[in-house]
Symmetry: D2
Subunit: 136 residues, 4 copies
Amino acid sequence: MKVFEARLTVRSYECDFYGHVNNAVYLNYLEFARMEALFQEGFTLEQMRRDGYLVVIRRIEIDYKYPVTMGDALVIKTFVEKSGKTSGTFVQQIFREEDQRLVADARVTWVFTNLAGKPIPIPLAVRRAFDMVEET
Amino acid sequence: MKVFEARLTVRSYECDFYGHVNNAVYLNYLEFARMEALFQEGFTLEQMRRDGYLVVIRRIEIDYKYPVTMGDALVIKTFVEKSGKTSGTFVQQIFREEDQRLVADARVTWVFTNLAGKPIPIPLAVRRAFDMVEET
Amino acid sequence: MKVFEARLTVRSYECDFYGHVNNAVYLNYLEFARMEALFQEGFTLEQMRRDGYLVVIRRIEIDYKYPVTMGDALVIKTFVEKSGKTSGTFVQQIFREEDQRLVADARVTWVFTNLAGKPIPIPLAVRRAFDMVEET
Amino acid sequence: MKVFEARLTVRSYECDFYGHVNNAVYLNYLEFARMEALFQEGFTLEQMRRDGYLVVIRRIEIDYKYPVTMGDALVIKTFVEKSGKTSGTFVQQIFREEDQRLVADARVTWVFTNLAGKPIPIPLAVRRAFDMVEET
């Protein structure tokens, strides 16, 4: 199992009037980590679109475990939990770097589609890059 | 069961480079709808904080059913699915107004805490306003 | 001079940890008001792109006069201050609806370009819709 | 003159449907760079608030010189252009790291206030940290 890591530091404008990162912003962080994983494997959204496919998010489950605040350094671990012919699920866990505390725990389900939105098989290159079992 | 409704129209800056509302922005919409429900019942976050309690989001599950785009008018329905002594779950459903199509379906679990973050019983006024079964 | 009006109410997630709308969010509000003006006149960004042109922001000047906070109802007035062959400047003023207090005052300079980014003459339909002096 | 540098990379969710960083997001970047400068000098917003003062943005002027897109690495230089008794102006310039191209050029005017919003003299520690001329 290949685990991708992305790092970021919480910015002032991401915090709400409780001084905590707003719950919607965590989804930005998760997207950032997924993009980093794609980049590390040599993919870009632009290239994928030119190649005729999109990755569409179908479902997100996220547990907020512990609040984070401005200046906190975070590590986001992303790995494939399961995958089928056209779709799959990433586990994405956000840790506070300082003490490795798990601050949020998410499952993100996505599907590959063509530009018209119809599901298509996960491209082989993606399957290999992300260590998904190959369909037989 | 009391169903709260909030209305909004998708704004240009909420759309990503696919032209769709980014998945994190849906959580902003859900927060907006929860705040509208609070306002309708005469609550504000400031007043709640002055009264010594916070509402903290613990978990969100959201299914993205259909993309929405700039100018789409949306209706968000919010109602209590279940509630316990200190916490509860809202169902929040986002519909496209034009055709009443369900575009996203969410479950949001929250807990009441004191200012130190310790869970406290849901205040009676909140329980009544949101039609939660009263604890006996 | 044609003055366009757009209305919105400040949302919880737009406020920072001082409880005030963050200064970047005002630019979202201004964009929203410009889009509303376009819509009112029958234009959309998609149609404009299909027609081969973009509106690109070149400069923004904004004076923050008074803080606004969650729940404040705002009115944004937008009008053309000056225009040339390819570019122009809008004045955009944000008022708090309750007391008509001016809370922010902006000048936004934009240019029409083709899809390659080269400035092009402001389309006649736009010129007429926004009451700009026609070039002779 | 002390020049502060902050670095960041453009994230996917910061781009609009033209694929460019939305103009409001640049103000987030500028805020990020100002916070980094404060941190480097040992200040935090929380500490400043505990000490009884706020920094309030009064005016921003920004020229957008060149579009930036997902994955672009940026460097933001921040320095004091002028300062008075209670207020001052930063120049903030955003460069694309790859070719040192200036992509945005801003002037940000701020004022120190007490918690009630009344202007107060710039604290001496801040004046020294940011290389402002001391008032005599």
